[in-house]
């Protein structure tokens, strides 16, 4: 039995400790905003924050996050107010199919915490999520918009 803190709520989960955090979130806790894309930490669709750090939850076993604070896309908005990255995404009409965007938003939110005013080079170096619809042009615009919000 592991105690998992997700978006401020502690969940007692009774699954194999080798189970990737992604599948614990999706199948045990029922938070499906975190997406399965590749399972090998390549695409970033499963990005969540673990103690504030962006991590690809498909490759983090449950045993590694026992007692740590996890934030998923569902916990990014605070008190009903969208996070500035979500707001910028909305205003710049970023998503196409949208499947990768929760992971993209989580990665960008972590970047902005680290670098509040990222340059294009910072974005290039830190955001490596795959988007097959190809929203990158809007993603870049929205990151700068969020940074100046």
């Amino acid at each position: 039995m592991a105690a998992l803190s997700v978006n401020g709520t502690t969940h007692q989960v009774n699954v194999d400790p080798d189970t990737p955090l992604l599948w614990v979130l999706r199948e045990t806790i029922g938070l499906t905003g975190t997406k399965y894309g590749c399972g090998i930490a390549q695409c970033g669709a499963c990005t969540v924050h673990v103690d504030g750090i962006a991590m690809r939850s498909c490759s983090v076993p449950l045993s590694a996050v026992d007692g740590r604070k996890i934030t998923t896309i569902e916990g990014l908005a605070q008190n009903g107010v969208l996070h500035k990255v979500q707001q910028a995404w909305l205003e710049n009409d970023v998503p196409q199919c949208g499947y990768c965007q929760c992971g993209m938003i989580m990665a960008v939110a972590a970047l902005l915490k680290d670098k509040p005013k990222p340059t294009d080079a910072d974005i290039d170096a830190n955001i490596s999520n795959i988007c097959r619809c190809g929203t990158f042009q809007q993603v870049r615009t929205a990151i700068h918009a969020a940074a100046s919000a």
Binding site: T28, K35, D93, V94, Y99, S128
Partner: protein
């Protein structure tokens, strides 16, 4: 009570509209089934529009939404004629079962071939117009005034003479009881106020909060999950598997064979199912293709380049004669590989089978095809089946195939009463998918002594998609789709050059790896072959690539206009900035004319930075310029990912690439600046989701030649040690 589709059964919300207490207006689309409907005299109401008492307008969108934005675009078309308040528009997705029950009142559900808007624009606009007329008539009846004295804007109806006004929501119930007008006049495009506007998408809010449910997110009480393995060699079968070895593993409920080539493990969670599946001993009968390789396939296709027998797609004059008499001859051989769609959301479907009902929750580009697969696989009559489609996590053609629905229904049928969610792992998707077809192409050009192009032969050798995917669409053994963008004329994809002696033909060679429609389809390789070779010809003639093309395009003004548009925007008449090199390409497909001009720099001979790509499209009518821009930029990411990285190779009959580590996709640091020029010339409706993808790769390849003097004729570029800078 008006008929309403049951769309949100079992809490699976596929739309935003609650049903009840409102108006639903019917409109019959001009299909065979609807003629029967009209003849039956049944006052059938409701297809496209529901107006609720609070003035909310619900627009039903039958075509699939996979990110391409046609849900919003189609709603714009309806709203334009309806004259409703755009800020009060929501959408919902009807089901294919209801469509069949209602004699296909919503027409075609298919979103592929960039057809969602262009093939339904007329009947959905009429749906909006009919609704408007009924709402106005209801107000006129209420006030006892002629309908001609009424005006409407943003859902508010006014009668100026008596200074009265009402809203759509207030008259909706009365309007629903009226006979729909037999005919309606559509607005003149010059009067459009919603069509042509860069409106925001209607489906963004839930996509930024994680609330959007894709079918992979679906759940219901008692549901179990399944992971499945198919024979890695296409055409192979299962010989045996040892279920007893895994039945004691955590969560495992059952091991089920699906068809003769797949086995699924059913467990409490998908992770448990996948883990157990990996431990399941399976023996395969790999069948006759177990020795096929990329090299053996290439060798077979190579034979087609000079084969006697070939299907002719475009012919004028005598190309072979012109080539034999040429003063100068130019020849080149190109090759294009297999590619996987790699949608971000892997294929999945949930099925619930009972003795008298089979229901499927999935994401399909063609919910009617998924429905057909459900009916056929379940063995139940159509009126006992239903498919609930939701927004797709990417489609790109892959989700027009219903294989994953068939497998889910088979597994569910073996566990009647238990809902089964089947999810392909990324590895399953990549190795047991359907692929961009493989082809080679030999092009030969003939010049006279004055460097005039007198003839050209374009011989395509390789795979036919239709022979595998839609054999009924073959024409006497020929696959007409092979010649996308190379046709002698027509509104779909006409060849844009006049060459006095021309022959374009296809020697069909169908390897065992199954081909499928893949964003852009055969236009992808056809545009590379033709547009890179046009550059080769221009170079051989010592002429500027733009001027060389222009001389051949005088009878193709729309092709020429988009080419001129990108040339002007990129500044072709002036030298490129220091260290920059340019390339051009044009093509026509899915009813639209497209062109691109790329500006790149190359360091070390192999590190490519694409600084910008200027794109132009003439899609006739541009429904939503903001979404068109996004489709163009996005199509370039898909097309350039394919150019630089995209290849599925074959070894021992199976696909070697298993995930994004071996099948890469562009990231944001590789994204060029995309500048879009939309030049809608009006009078026709062309596609948007695909067309511009064709021109990204040849424009970059031609720029690469300008920079390095090297022609790359086989793909992807990684095989030539060429990468993004």
């Amino acid at each position: 009570m008006n008929y309403m589709p049951k769309i949100d059964r079992r809490s699976f919300l596929v739309g935003t509209a609650a049903v009840g207490g409102g108006l639903s207006l019917g409109f019959a689309v001009p299909f065979g089934g609807d003629t029967a409907l009209a003849q039956s005299g049944t006052p059938e109401l409701n297809a496209w529009v529901v107006v609720r008492p609070d003035d909310t307008v619900v627009i039903r969108i039958a075509r699939a939404e996979m990110g391409q934005g046609s849900q919003t675009g189609l709603a714009q078309l309806v709203a334009e004629e309806l004259e409703c308040d755009w800020s009060k528009v929501t959408t919902e997705i009807p089901t294919p079962g209801e469509n069949v029950a209602r004699k296909r009142v919503w027409g075609n559900f298919n979103s592929s071939g960039s057809r969602a808007i262009r093939e339904s624009q007329e009947y959905v606009r009429k749906g909006g117009a009919v609704a408007r007329e009924m709402l106005l008539q209801a107000a006129a009846n209420q006030w006892s005034v002629p309908v001609s004295e009424l005006a409407v804007a943003k859902g508010v109806i006014t009668h100026k003479a008596s200074n009265r006004s009402t809203t759509y929501g207030k008259v909706a119930e009365a309007a629903a009881k009226l006979e729909p007008p037999a005919d309606v006049k559509l607005k003149d495009p010059k009067d459009w106020t919603i069509i042509g506007k860069p409106l925001k998408r209607l489906d963004t809010a839930d996509k930024v909060t994680g609330k959007q449910k894709y079918s992979i997110d679906f759940t219901m009480p008692g549901m179990l999950c399944a992971a499945m393995k198919e024979c890695p060699v296409f055409g192979g079968k299962i010989k045996s598997f040892d279920a007893a070895k895994i039945t004691n593993m955590p969560g495992v409920k059952k091991v089920v064979q699906s068809g003769d080539a797949a086995v699924a493990v059913v467990a409490d969670t998908w992770w448990q199912a996948k883990t157990a599946l990996a431990a399941l001993p399976i023996e395969w009968d790999e069948g006759p293709n177990a020795k096929a390789s990329t090299a053996s396939i290439a060798e077979w296709l190579k034979g087609g380049l000079d084969a006697e027998e070939a299907f002719v797609g475009n012919k004028s004059g005598d190309a072979k004669d012109a080539i034999s008499k040429a003063v100068k001859k130019v020849e080149a051989v190109y090759a294009y590989p297999y590619q996987n769609h790699a949608t971000m959301e892997p294929m999945n479907a949930t099925a619930l089978y009972t003795a008298d009902k089979c229901e499927v929750w999935t994401s399909s580009q063609n919910a009617e095809a998924a429905f057909g697969a459900t009916v056929q696989t379940s063995g139940l009559p159509a009126n006992k089946c239903e498919v609930y489609n939701t927004l797709l996590g990417g489609g790109f053609g892959r989700r027009t195939r219903s294989d994953y629905v068939i497998h889910a229904v088979r597994v569910a049928k073996s566990m009647a009463g238990t809902p089964i969610k089947l999810i392909n792992s990324r590895e399953d998707d990549m190795t047991n998918g359907v692929y961009h077809p493989i082809t080679q192409c030999k092009l030969t050009g003939a010049f006279d002594k004055d460097n005039n192009l007198t003839g050209m032969h374009m011989r395509i050798s390789g795979q036919s998609i239709l022979a595998y995917a839609r054999p009924e669409a073959m024409e006497g053994g020929k696959d007409p789709a092979t010649f996308q963008g190379l046709n002698p004329g027509g509104a779909e994809g006409a060849f844009g050059y006049s060459i006095p002696n021309l022959l374009i033909d296809h020697a069909m060679r169908n390897p065992h790896v199954p081909p499928w429609f893949w964003r852009g389809v055969n236009n992808n390789q056809n545009a590379i072959y033709l547009e890179c070779f046009m550059d080769e010809l221009a170079h051989a003639a010592g002429q500027d690539p733009l001027e060389f093309r222009r001389k051949l395009m005088t009878k193709h003004p729309k092709h020429l206009a988009v080419l001129n548009a990108v040339a002007e925007k990129v500044g072709w008449d002036k030298p490129a900035p220091q260290g920059m090199y340019r390339g051009l390409a044009q093509h026509m497909g899915y009813g639209s004319y497209v062109a691109a001009a790329a500006e790149i720099s190359v360091t070390g001979g192999n590190k490519v930075k694409i600084h910008r790509i200027v794109a132009a499209t003439d899609c006739g009518h541009a429904v939503n310029p903001a979404q068109i821009e996004r489709q163009i930029a996005g199509s370039f990411v898909y097309g350039l990912s394919a150019l630089f990285y995209g290849e599925c190779t074959v070894k021992d009959g199976r696909i070697e690439q298993t995930n994004f580590d071996t099948y890469n996709s562009m990231r944001i640091n590789e994204m060029p600046k995309v500048e879009v020029t939309i030049v809608p010339s009006g009078g026709f409706w062309g596609g948007v989701g695909e067309p511009t993808i064709f021109v990204a790769a040849p424009a970059v390849l031609n720029a690469f030649f300008a920079a390095t003097g090297k022609r790359i004729r086989s793909f992807p570029l990684k095989n030539h040690n060429i990468s993004f800078a």
